[in-house]
């Protein structure tokens, strides 16, 4: 058991589950007009920005129009992926029963097909958060972000990989559900992999058709300028999304766990694993909006399907619960979290430190230990 949870008793875990469930029920029961108005407003804002950005880029040969159009389009794409797409596909807005703003129908502005993303993210990552060997988001299969991961000489250039991953993050996300490790081991279902690849191909064609063909063509002789602007907007969105997402599970004293912990994991233990494995970014409302409220990663991981506009409201209560049970509440400024993440990427490119093994698990001590 980890040092951070050694003091928790079984009763504590049960109480934590009860208290967090109560917060969830309270918020879920209170959802209504105010929340619906929020997401409608954000979607209107996003569409307005996208139209404005694309319109400005119809004059992309003029440098001011190029800069303003690219920035506006990047802003729109960030909003679409972060505060809208990610959260809608989580089912956060399913309660409205609006078939358009629904986890089963939303397709986002990203080369990763919604269907595959929902599997790799909503199910695999959110259920097995920070379990080494189960949660493919730990290092995304190519990075060593924690000493518990075995070092390999291929980790040496990982600061370069990470820079490339940041720039082309959406492609990394698109390949994520293929589970490359399984393909390398030969344990994948080749038919399933082929079907997924075809779906990714279709989505890439659709995205490229829009950003690198249709809109550039619309701007006529400025084809290349518009194409460059759209590419820049996509890369900007990718770098931002990568940064926010890496701040969610890699900075500071975030913990990872070994697979054995999943055996008979109780709801309270699941909640505590989410708490220990997630980190927030402190900042103002604009930062929260731009991160899709993943700046409240802790609250998001406790309640992945509660609407994102509610995370800021419940954050003080989650933090108070952490204090009450003497649990860490990982948070810090964007600069601090980004710095800490990159420091790890550089540090763990090299071997060591020695003697670190994954936390067996912050499990409740058995009441009647079996005699050895």
């Amino acid at each position: 058991m980890t040092a951070t949870t050694a003091h928790l008793t079984r009763a504590d875990y049960e109480a934590i589950a009860r208290e967090l469930d109560a917060i969830r029920d309270e918020v879920a029961g209170d959802l209504g007009e105010r929340d619906a108005a929020y997401i409608h407003r954000i979607i209107r804002l996003q569409r307005g920005l996208e139209i404005a950005g694309r319109a400005m880029l119809l004059a992309s040969s003029l440098p001011p129009a190029w800069i303003a159009g690219t920035a506006t389009l990047a802003f729109a794409k960030i909003l679409e992926n972060m505060e809208i797409g990610h959260n809608v596909m989580h089912g956060q807005w399913d309660w409205m029963r609006d078939s358009k703003i629904h986890s089963t129908t939303w397709e986002w502005d990203n080369v990763s097909p919604a269907e595959q993303w929902k599997h790799s993210h909503n199910f695999v990552h959110h259920t097995f958060t920070n379990i080494l060997g189960k949660d493919n988001d730990v290092g995304y299969g190519i990075l060593r972000v924690t000493p518990e991961q075995e070092w390999h000489w291929a980790n040496i250039p990982q600061p370069v990989y990470n820079t490339l991953l940041a720039m082309f993050f959406e492609y990394g996300v698109a390949l994520h559900d293929l589970e490359l490790n399984k393909i390398l081991e030969g344990t994948n279902d080749p038919e399933e992999t082929a079907a997924k690849l075809r779906a990714i191909g279709r989505k890439i064609r659709r995205q490229w058709g829009k950003d690198y063909l249709a809109f550039p063509l619309l701007s006529g002789p400025q084809f290349l300028a518009t194409l460059g602007a759209n590419f820049t907007a996509n890369v900007t969105r990718n770098v931002w999304a990568h940064m926010v997402i890496f701040c969610g599970h890699f900075p500071g004293d975030i913990e990872v766990f070994e697979e054995g912990r999943l055996e008979d994991e109780t709801k309270g233990e699941w909640y505590v694993r989410q708490l220990l494995g997630s980190a927030n970014i402190s900042g103002g409302p604009f930062l929260h909006l731009m991160t899709g409220n993943l700046s409240h990663q802790i609250e998001h991981h406790l309640f992945p399907d509660l609407p994102s506009n509610r995370y800021a409201e419940i954050a003080p209560r989650v933090r108070a619960l952490c204090e009450k049970y003497d649990l860490p509440y990982h948070t810090g400024s964007l600069a601090k979290q980004v710095g800490s993440t990159w420091k790890k990427i550089f540090r763990y490119a090299l071997p060591g430190p020695r003697g670190v093994v994954p936390s067996p698990s912050p499990k409740a001590p058995a009441e009647h230990p079996v005699a050895a």
Partner: protein
Amino acid sequence: MINPLWSAADPRGRIEAVRHEAPGAATLVIRPGQAWRGHRPGQWVKIGIDIDGVRHWRTFSLSSPPRPDGRITVTVKAGPDGFVSRHLVHAVRPGTIVHLGAAEGDFVLPPDLPERLLFLTAGSGITPVMAILRALTERAADRTPTPIRPRAADRTPGVDRLPGAGRMPDVVLVHSARTPEDVIFGAELRALAERVPELRLYERHTGTDGRFKLAELADVCPDWAERDTWACGPSDLLDEIEAHWRTAEAGDRLRMERFRLALPAAGAEGEGGGGRVRFSASDIEVDADGSTPLLDAGEGAGALLPSGCRMGICYSCVGRLRSGRVRDLRTGEVHGEEGHVIQTCVSAAAGPVDIEL
């Protein structure tokens, strides 16, 4: 985004007026958008309205024939437990955008208009019949509504045109309501009966005169068995009517419209819950108790169902309810209506359930 009525794919309408009709009943005048494909008198439409952020779909009979101004009307009676109907009658304001399905139903006049017709209605069962009566009388008075949507009419022959131009058939309407004031469209019906000699109106006020018994029908309308008949009202009345017509071997002359209220399955709120669960896409049925997730029940019966976290967080297992209600195993709340998407891993059957998985 710019004008909700312009959507070509998603039919919507704007409520332009809410007219009081009778105690607890109101007519909504709706201006449909581009995607509306027209209707025939007697058909019904699904209307989706957002109340406190949540979309609710309900089915209502259209109470007007196609109108020259392109508006459609539905007349709603607020039921004592009808959350949506009460909202529509008492709270909704002009300007509200509603979502529309396509007009549906066979409760319409045939291409060859019969000589003699009988309408048997009770309560808000008058609404589809009102649309038919208005169409018939407008037709007869040669105030033929100009086809308002020629394009739509061309695509769907007969949508805007009624057969038998200019001729009013012989019509008997037998309608039951508690009091004269409770008769929806009461004033209009009485005025019509006065003006149109071919229309005979028999009002039954059940509050003072008791329920209308089908044994009395022969007194009111001796040739009832020879008339093409349209009946709309509460389920038990329709059951009686159906039996009565069958006994008289006139079943083929009878058309009925049952209220399509999404009523919770009987006993759904009862202790324990549970019920017969049908996974319609897998064609598998199984009995499940009130504490077993639908997902487990289905898998136990051999259905290949989508699944994920099995704790209600990932939305991989969702399916669309065709009927029935479910209990959220986390909160105990019983919920669900036709068309709702539910999480099978944290929902148990509360009565019989049919789910599209």
